[in-house]
């Protein structure tokens, strides 16, 4: 608190915040969350969680729901702990061990899940939301946006959770690993500080972000407002804020070239190729600088850069270009799997900086000096300030000291939320005076103390909650539950979990058999074809233009800490689930897993078991069979606007006989599995062209106009081989030839056509051989524009597509979209 004489002349003119802070300091002394957790009295006959919940349930006259079935508990346990479906082996055990009492059986299942390395992946993502993790910097004008080694922080979090690093140590390393006696590789933890948004390098905002993430994630305190004025309700002052500002201002990022290497790749051809490319890129930057700066001195080793110096000698445009070249180096170092892996570390500045208050948050209005220190209200020793360097290690210790009333509570609340589906304190990111005492205050204290007594073991806390009867209850609400406690604040039943982005995508891939279960590594663009099958936690997180795939599934904004995600149900999600190539790919693969069964009913059962882990009911089986049998809505050949066929043109009538090519290899449409096909010969189409067949087997590409308009077709028909004879290309529409060209060996022609078309009308592109079809491979990828429009209406090459979904994938897709799959009881 700022010290003010009590009776100042003209006190009325003082900023309101000061008065408010004084008032709030008094109520802060009483605030429940600022008191040490108190051990609740326990009779000890049942699990403490159940005993403490029962107090409130009795007040409300709520009868707890019965236990859930073992299959349900198994699925729930794996969902909560790993975000995956349980392995097959365990599923069999669930039905095989009915004899074992439920509590013991359940504890065994939980232990198994907790010892899976996939636990770390699931729970790391929870923490990464809070740590506002992203792989890119956010908006930057010319500088490269990728943080080359953000993933080392993500992987550190996964590993730390998997080995159950005590939570207090987990926090300390993320703030001060470089100042602690730990191996260098542990400095990856410092990504917690360095991975925030860059705000176009505005120093005060970068520090604001670091203060915010540190306090919100650990103590549930909101320091954001204290940048400009004392907190309106919490005992936090500008003096506190700038005391912390000094800590982070006395800390600097290790420059990119000097980041500590935490793993070096072995020598391999790939590594040598990487080194060569790296040197090439470094030399390109030196060449540029040497061309612009007089007396530019190339360093003896090309990878030693003095970036700052070079930048200071260039003008604005040149700086942009130079930065672009540097970004190419960083990009390679970040993206190549052969690059040495580094920690995005910080270090203390050689000399700590003495902070001053920036009045109203303006850097230019420098107010009084303040010491680097922990927020006064929460200090262990009221008069102590930071003495060692920047003070970061002291900060980390204060955050995690045993008497800190908030850190364990905030953690316990979050763990409860992820296990039980809703938090005990409804504002898990704010434990300040605006957070009312929770309904189950005693339970929260119990959990906070339990965590500390178990040497801050998060796994132990999860296990403790999950071994309660409360966790094992059925999620089916009876009428009285719905009436007395619609939001389930009393936990008399279980809260049904909606799969979040990660668990939805991961289990979908698991069901389709494609999920890649390897741990760790560089991020991949999971939202783009070819849809890498890695777990979602390894997806590249783009902070600035977060792909809509993430946002529509409620992935949080990575500009600021998010402790609790919003969960929406929107048609955009439905559109993705219904129409995206990703889903179609999974539906096909899922259907493929059951394709060994000839019997339709057996195959339906196999699909149900694969996706929903149960047999279909008789009526469901009948429904599926009906669905499979109805062919009235038979699809076209492909999923796209173009179809691929063969046939002939009747020149007297202008009619085109079009027969769809029946076989698709994954790249080529053709007559059968092998070429030449006994009937149709060599005729085939691929994305850029194809080959005609013999006699009446012209290759035909067909496009159907979506609406009535005037179109301009552009294209080039080329027959590259020098051997053989000419071929002929034709464009035929509405019974007449709109264009035809003969192309001799080794030649090519442009094929422009302007046409009026009506909606639904077919335009055929025929290629016939003249004489022999030998060597008649051609390329032809027409592009169709509406007249006067700059962007094409259709393009043959990018529009090339394989077969439409057949019926089995359509059925598999329905099961993947079902609530039974998307929710966990």
């Amino acid at each position: 608190m700022r010290v003010l004489p009590l009776f100042l002349p003209g006190i009325a003119a003082l900023p309101l915040a000061v008065g408010a802070t004084r008032a709030c300091a008094a109520s802060a002394q009483q605030h429940w969350a600022f008191q040490s957790p108190e051990r609740p009295a326990l009779a000890g006959k049942i699990h403490p969680v159940d005993e403490l919940l029962a107090i409130r349930q009795k007040e409300k006259n709520l009868k707890p729901a019965p236990d859930a079935a073992r299959e349900v508990l198994l699925r729930r346990a794996w969902h909560v702990v790993t975000g995956l479906q349980p392995p097959e082996a365990l599923a069999t055990r669930a039905s095989g061990e009915r004899g074992e009492p439920l509590a013991e059986w359940s504890a065994g299942i939980i232990d198994e899940a907790l010892s899976s390395p996939h636990y770390g992946e699931r729970w790391a993502r929870h923490w990464l939301d809070v740590a506002r993790y992203a792989d890119t910097k956010g908006y930057a004008f010319t500088a490269g946006r990728l943080f080359p080694f953000a993933f080392t922080y993500r992987d550190w979090v996964i590993e730390a959770l998997n080995k159950d690093l005590p939570y207090d140590e987990f926090l300390r390393r993320q703030i001060a690993a470089d100042l602690m006696d730990v191996p260098v590789r542990e400095q990856a933890a410092l990504g917690f500080l360095t991975l925030g948004r860059r705000y176009l390098n505005k120093h005060d905002l970068i520090i604001a972000d670091r203060i915010d993430v540190t306090f919100r994630s650990t103590m549930g305190l909101t320091m954001q407002c204290v940048r400009c004025h004392d907190h309106k309700s919490d005992p936090l002052t500008m003096q506190d804020y700038y005391g912390l500002y000094g800590v982070f201002d006395s800390t600097e990022e290790v420059p990119e070239g000097e980041l500590p290497v935490i793993a070096t790749p072995e020598d391999s051809p790939g590594y040598r190729a990487f080194r060569q490319e790296l040197l090439k890129r470094a030399n390109a930057a030196h060449d540029y600088a040497a061309g612009k700066i007089k007396e530019y001195q190339r360093p003896p080793a090309p990878l030693d850069f003095d970036r700052k110096k070079a930048l200071s000698q260039l003008n604005q445009t040149e700086r942009g270009k130079y930065r672009g070249l540097l970004a190419k180096i960083d990009e390679l170092e970040g993206k190549s799997e052969f690059a040495p892996v580094r920690a995005m570390a910080v270090r203390d500045r050689p000399k700590p900086r003495e902070p001053v208050i920036f009045e109203r948050g303006h850097q230019s209005s420098r107010g009084p000096k303040v010491p680097r220190a922990f927020p006064a209200f929460f200090r262990e020793v009221p008069t102590s300030t930071f003495k060692q360097g920047s003070g970061r290690l002291e900060l980390a210790r204060e955050l995690t000291r045993p008497g800190n009333p908030l850190t364990a509570r905030v953690c316990a609340n979050r763990v409860w939320m992820h296990v039980m589906g809703s938090p005990l304190v409804n504002t898990p990111g704010d434990f300040g005076l605006q957070a009312p005492s929770p309904l189950h205050a005693g339970l929260l204290d119990h959990l906070a103390l339990y965590l500390q007594e178990q040497d801050w073991s998060v796994k132990a806390l999860i296990r403790h909650i999950m071994t309660s009867q409360a966790w094992r209850r059925s999620s089916k609400a009876g009428p009285e539950h719905a009436e007395l406690d619609p939001e389930n604040r009393y936990y008399a039943r279980s809260t049904r979990h909606r799969k979040d982005l990660e668990s939805w995508r991961d289990t979908t891939l698991q069901v389709s058999g494609r999920l890649d279960l390897r741990l760790g590594g560089r991020p991949v663009k999971i939202h783009e074809a070819p849809f890498p099958p890695r777990r979602t936690v390894y997806g590249l997180i783009e902070r600035q233009n977060t792909p809509s795939f993430f946002r529509i599934f409620d992935f949080p904004d990575s500009s600021q800490p998010v402790v609790k995600r919003v969960s929406t149900t929107t048609p955009n999600q439905a559109l993705y689930l219904m129409n995206s190539p990703f889903m179609h790919e999974q539906a096909k693969a899922t259907a493929g897993t059951s394709s060994g069964n000839d019997n339709e009913r057996v195959r339906v059962r196999a699909l149900y078991n694969r996706i929903l882990k149960r047999n279909p009911s008789p009526s469901e089986l009948a429904g599926a069979v009906r669905f499979l049998g109805d062919t009235s809505g038979k699809q076209g050949q492909t999923s796209g606007a173009w179809s691929y066929g063969h046939g002939r043109l009747f020149r007297d009538s202008g009619r085109v006989e079009f027969k769809a090519l029946p076989h698709y290899t994954g790249k080529v449409w053709q007559g059968g599995a092998e070429l030449p096909d006994p009937e149709t010969g060599w005729v085939h189409w691929h994305s850029a062209g194809g080959h005609p067949g013999h006699d009446d087997h012209a290759a035909i590409l067909r496009w159907v106009a979506p609406r009535s308009t005037t179109i301009e077709i552009a294209g080039e028909l080329s027959r590259p081989a020098l051997k053989g004879d000419a071929l002929r290309g034709l464009v035929v529409a509405r019974g007449s030839i709109a264009g035809q060209w003969t192309v001799s060996p080794g030649e090519k022609v442009l094929t422009p056509v302007i046409l009026e078309v009506t909606a639904g009308q077919a335009i055929d592109f025929l290629v016939e051989s003249t004489g022999s079809e030998a060597w008649d491979s051609f390329s032809w990828s027409p592009v169709i524009h509406e007249q006067g429009e700059p962007v094409p209406l259709a393009e043959a090459q990018p529009g090339f597509s394989g077969p439409a979904l057949d019926r089995w994938p359509l059925l598999a897709q329905v099961l993947l979209l079902s609530n039974e799959f998307l929710y966990v009881d």
Partner: protein
């Protein structure tokens, strides 16, 4: 985009937090909601001339500047780049309509709607840089990550059409500077984020993601029927969970959206005379789409002139402004006329402007900053113009003034926050009360600033 339900992990924690301070967003975040008091406007169209159009060459005539052309101005303000002598507008201004509101020869057709325009000539912002000024105009804060105005408005009012996004941001050819941050929802739920549409495409199916069914229509209907059967069985044993029904509904909504969205973006369905009225080209297309969206109940449409910063004419101002205005003059005028014809202008607030204006002095050569032609203007946040039309503002009206040379807002200055407060007022919100509780604090579009500009209210 359109929405069925927000169920917050089954426990309305965040909803509850939001309820305390803002509107209750309940199970369906895009359901239409009443404002705090009856507003004149129901929808907003923001025509964003990104890069900073020159007020001196469009809506703020300065005869004094013409007189002093080539000479030093009596008072210079600090500009981002060096600027030199007074630089008169190469364009003629004439009084238009009954009101005699003066519009330059750049916008003859928009000028023909002068009696509907409310020009604010005394706008000002905080800094002369694009990034912070764009964010200030769109999100109310130049530096931090905050929800866009369109997000606030859809958060406050929901949307009238559940089969379309409530907030659409169109920009042909790519993103403006600061990219999607201009229409982000930040800490507001993702539902309120602007849906980006690249209007360079003419194929309506390409405009909304995954709107095109890869599965033939009948087949998909059969899939959804089977899905409904499955979900109803599932729900039978799980009553009292509204989320399950919401999910079921979301598929039906999506199914309808496939048709409605494609239809809304398909301007080929417009009669020939309407298409003629808007003219040809990208600007015409996006203005016509805008009208189709507004007509269908979309709450907030933001239309950007183009990727990057097209109006940022540090060089060749005359040529470039001429070209840009020619692209959008007819389409914008057509949009106003069309809305008026349909009786939609009264309840639709149209806003035209950039992130700031331009200097009355000529920009001096600076390597790396301009081409050194000495015929352009630098950024000017001290004073600039925007105009509003419809939605409860006075028509044929000029509010405030810049100094005699157009450098700085001089009479009745209007800060960007004041403009935002006024827009929210027109929609029926007290800008100080449309808030969202996040990180222990009630946030609002105007931060701790903003005053409604009473003078311009009709």
């Amino acid at each position: 985009m359109g929405m069925a339900g927000v169920a917050l992990n089954g426990v309305p924690g965040l909803v509850a937090a939001a309820e305390k301070s803002g509107p209750s967003i309940g199970l369906n975040p895009l359901a239409p909601r009443r404002p705090q008091f009856p507003g004149k406007a129901k929808a907003v169209i923001h025509l964003f001339m990104n890069g900073g159009p020159s007020h001196l060459d469009t809506f703020d005539p300065k005869p004094e500047l013409t007189k002093l052309h080539g000479q030093e101005l009596p008072k210079m303000l600090k500009t981002e780049r060096p600027t030199g002598a007074a630089f008169k507008s190469p364009f003629e201004f004439s009084p238009m309509g009954q009101s005699g509101l003066e519009v330059s020869s750049l916008f003859p057709q928009v000028g023909s709607m002068a009696d509907d325009l409310c020009v604010i000539r005394s706008m000002y912002a905080d800094v002369p840089n694009h990034e912070p000024s764009l964010l200030l105009m769109n999100c109310g804060d130049g530096r931090l990550v905050r929800p866009a105005m369109g997000s606030w408005v859809t958060y406050g009012l929901g949307s009238e059409n559940q089969n379309l996004p409530g907030f659409v941001a169109m920009c042909p050819g790519g993103y403006p500077i600061q990219e999607t941050q201009n229409w982000q929802s930040a800490f507001l739920p993702g539902t309120f984020q602007g849906t980006y549409v690249d209007t360079k495409h003419s194929d309506p199916k390409k405009l909304v993601e995954h709107i095109e069914a890869n599965t033939a229509g009948r087949e998909q209907r059969r899939q959804l029927d089977l899905l409904r059967e499955l979900n109803e069985n599932h729900q039978r044993e799980r009553s009292h969970d509204a989320r399950l029904e919401a999910r079921l509904q979301s598929f039906e909504l999506a199914y309808r959206m496939q048709m409605e969205a494609s239809d809304a973006f398909d301007i080929s369905k417009e009669p020939e005379e309407i298409r003629k009225m808007y003219g040809r080209g990208t600007q015409a297309r996006q203005m016509l789409i805008t009208r189709r969206l507004i007509e269908r109940g979309v709450r907030f449409v933001q239309v950007w002139h183009g990727a990057g910063q097209p109006w940022d004419n540090h060089d060749d101002l005359e040529k470039n402004h001429q070209k840009l205005a020619r692209e959008c003059d007819q389409p914008i005028a057509a949009l106003l006329k069309d809305l008026k014809m349909r009786g939609l202008l009264d309840e639709t607030l149209v806003m035209w402007g950039g992130e700031f204006g331009r200097t009355p002095t000529v920009e001096m050569p600076k390597k790396g900053s301009n081409a050194g032609k000495i015929n352009g203007r630098d950024h000017n946040h001290y004073g600039f113009s925007v105009w509003l039309a419809g939605g409860g503002v006075k028509g044929g009206y000029v509010h405030g003034a810049t100094d005699p040379f157009g450098f700085q807002a001089a009479e009745k200055p209007v800060h960007v926050h004041d403009l935002q407060a006024t827009i929210l007022h027109l929609l029926g919100f007290d800008h100080e009360k449309l808030t969202y509780r996040y990180s222990g604090r009630d946030f609002r579009l105007t931060d701790v600033h903003g005053k409604v500009v009473q003078d311009i209210l009709a």
